[in-house]
């Protein structure tokens, strides 16, 4: 008994040291392969110092266009979220195995959502730019589809946990499927749905700031311009605005979550 424990512990020890060694070897190999040698690191620190020196004080030459770009980013995020939420509500009902009209359709939608989730928002933006051209539209579509990937999953999980007694009660009163979903199911999962949707809005506001970098509208484009012209002081200003945007989005969504909880306590009447 005790002997077994001892040998087990020794085995574990050997295993651990092998893993540590392999991890270390991989680290060194990667450094060499990517050509990250000490002098390079020193040089980039020097360069960082130069950029840093040029960043201060932050300035902007076009406060109006910076402001409108920030607003555009937020609009892209909000519209993308709304579009994503609406489509996800619909798909999640068809994906949830307790509500779907066909299990195969359910699997298909879950598979689709998984795939969509695996592709980053930036890639979607690039794809939609090819499809519909530059501007906020591809940004909105990219955020919408990226949101769908996540929301269908989390909405679906919330739906699969509902008390099916409610469904039975309304069906036994002669309610149709749509009525059961809107009158019985959605009110029961409202709290979870609102929390997830607001969380997603938060994520989308962060993404929307970056999307502009590839030309999908919004403030990211300003950052790109400043960086390309080596105007690091302007770049810093844009970064500050983005920071402010993201922070206020977080505060706002936190506030809305509280409000929504209070409102759902009052219920929809």
């Amino acid at each position: 008994m005790i002997k077994n424990k001892e040998t087990y512990r020794q085995q574990k020890k050997v295993q651990n040291s092998i893993f540590t060694f392999l991890a270390f070897a991989f680290f060194i190999f990667s450094m060499l392969q990517l050509n990250i040698v000490p002098e390079r690191i020193v040089r980039s620190i020097e360069r960082l110092g130069y950029i840093f020196g040029n960043m201060f004080p932050p300035v902007t030459n076009e406060p109006v266009s910076l402001f409108t770009a920030a607003i555009e980013s937020i609009q892209v995020a909000i519209l993308g979220t709304i579009l994503g939420v609406i489509i996800s509500l619909f798909l999640a009902v068809l994906a949830a195995k307790n509500l779907t009209i066909s299990p195969y359709l359910g699997y298909a939608i879950k598979g689709f959502a998984g795939f969509v989730r695996a592709v980053p928002a930036l890639i979607w933006a690039l794809l939609f730019i090819v499809a519909v051209g530059l501007g906020p539209t591809p940004g909105i579509l990219a955020l919408a589809i990226n949101s769908i990937g996540m929301l269908v999953k989390v909405y679906g999980e919330a739906l699969e946990e509902i008390d099916m007694g409610i469904v039975e009660a309304l069906e036994s009163a002669g309610a149709s499927k749509v009525q059961v979903i809107l009158q019985g199911v959605f009110p029961s999962v409202m709290k979870a749905f609102t929390a997830w949707s607001l969380f997603r809005l938060d994520v989308n506001i962060r993404y929307s700031a970056i999307l502009g970098v590839v030309g999908a509208g919004g403030i990211g484009w300003e950052l790109m311009k400043a960086a390309q012209m080596s105007r690091y002081d302007e770049a810093l200003m844009v970064t500050i605005v983005i920071f402010g945007m993201v922070m206020s989005a977080e505060v706002l969504s936190e506030y809305m979550k509280k409000r929504a909880n209070a409102a759902s306590a009052q219920a929809l009447n």
């Binding site: 409610i166 039975e168 009660a169 309610a175 009158q183 019985g184 009110p187 409202m190």
Partner: protein, 255 residues
């Protein structure tokens, strides 16, 4: 002689896993009867009740309701027929986050156009009717509270109100008081009985409390092993019969 409202012939239900829950049920129910079904756990009482409105699909047999076979009805037809069958559950099955009055209004969904009902566009008249039904079950001052703020007994009365609002001709109740204390149980059973007398509902209730069954029923049906074992008025339900209904195994052995 009262007319027959529900005629069940050779009803069988075998679950996908092979359990024969109902073997061969034949039952004729007259308008206005208050029937209580008793029987041991697993006898098939719930399955029987849920077969009547097809929450549980019968394997074979006929259920003739108002002259039409429910078993043969298509989806649309079934929806229409279900409006006439109110159902009350052990777990109340209210939409907990919605106000009480909205839950009562849900009884009207089957009569509304799909979208009007889905969006909850109930008109003034419907709301007033719901409120007056709540008054009848003694809950007028709870109308705008969230359903889950009510006690269990009150929630079951809301469920009764929802069923009344369907204007059904039959009410099915599956263990309506199984999760309530004795006092609330009595209150709930009294309201159910009152509603059924006032509206002339035919009522079928599953109960496992024999004393309650004797007190409220006009007629008692004992189910055992998926078959009807006893069917008759309360006075014919002797202690011996009760014992053998609840006895284990197929033979009537004392417990």
């Amino acid at each position: 002689m009262m007319e027959t409202i529900l005629e069940i012939r050779q009803l069988k239900k075998t679950y996908p896993d092979g359990t024969e829950a109902l073997k061969n049920i034949n039952l004729s129910i007259k308008r206005g009867e208050f029937i209580v079904i008793i029987g041991p756990s697993g006898a098939g009482k719930s399955t029987f009740l849920r077969s009547i409105n097809r929450l549980s699909e019968p394997t074979s047999g006929e259920i003739i309701f108002h002259g039409e076979d429910i078993v043969k009805a298509n989806r649309a037809k079934l929806r229409k027929m279900r409006r006439n069958i109110g159902m009350i559950f052990q777990g109340f099955n209210l939409v907990k986050r919605l106000p009480t009055v909205r839950n009562v209004l849900h009884g009207k969904l089957g009569y509304m156009s799909t979208w009007k009902g889905a969006l909850g566009l109930f008109n003034q008249e419907e709301v007033e009717e719901a409120l007056s039904i709540l008054e009848r079950v003694g809950l007028e001052d709870q109308a705008f509270k969230r359903a889950d703020e009510l006690s269990g007994g009150q929630q079951q009365r809301v469920a009764i109100a929802r069923a009344i609002n369907q204007s059904p001709s039959i009410i099915l109740a599956d263990e309506p008081i199984a999760s309530l204390d004795p006092n609330s149980s009595r209150v709930v059973m009294d309201y159910l009985q009152k509603a059924c007398q006032e509206e002339g509902f035919t009522t079928i209730v599953n109960l496992h409390q024999v004393d309650f069954a004797k007190e409220y029923a006009d007629r008692i049906v004992g189910i055992k092993n998926g078959e009807i074992y006893f069917d008759g008025p309360v006075k014919e339900l002797s202690d011996d019969v009760i014992q053998s209904i609840y006895a284990k195994g197929k033979e009537a052995m004392p417990v």
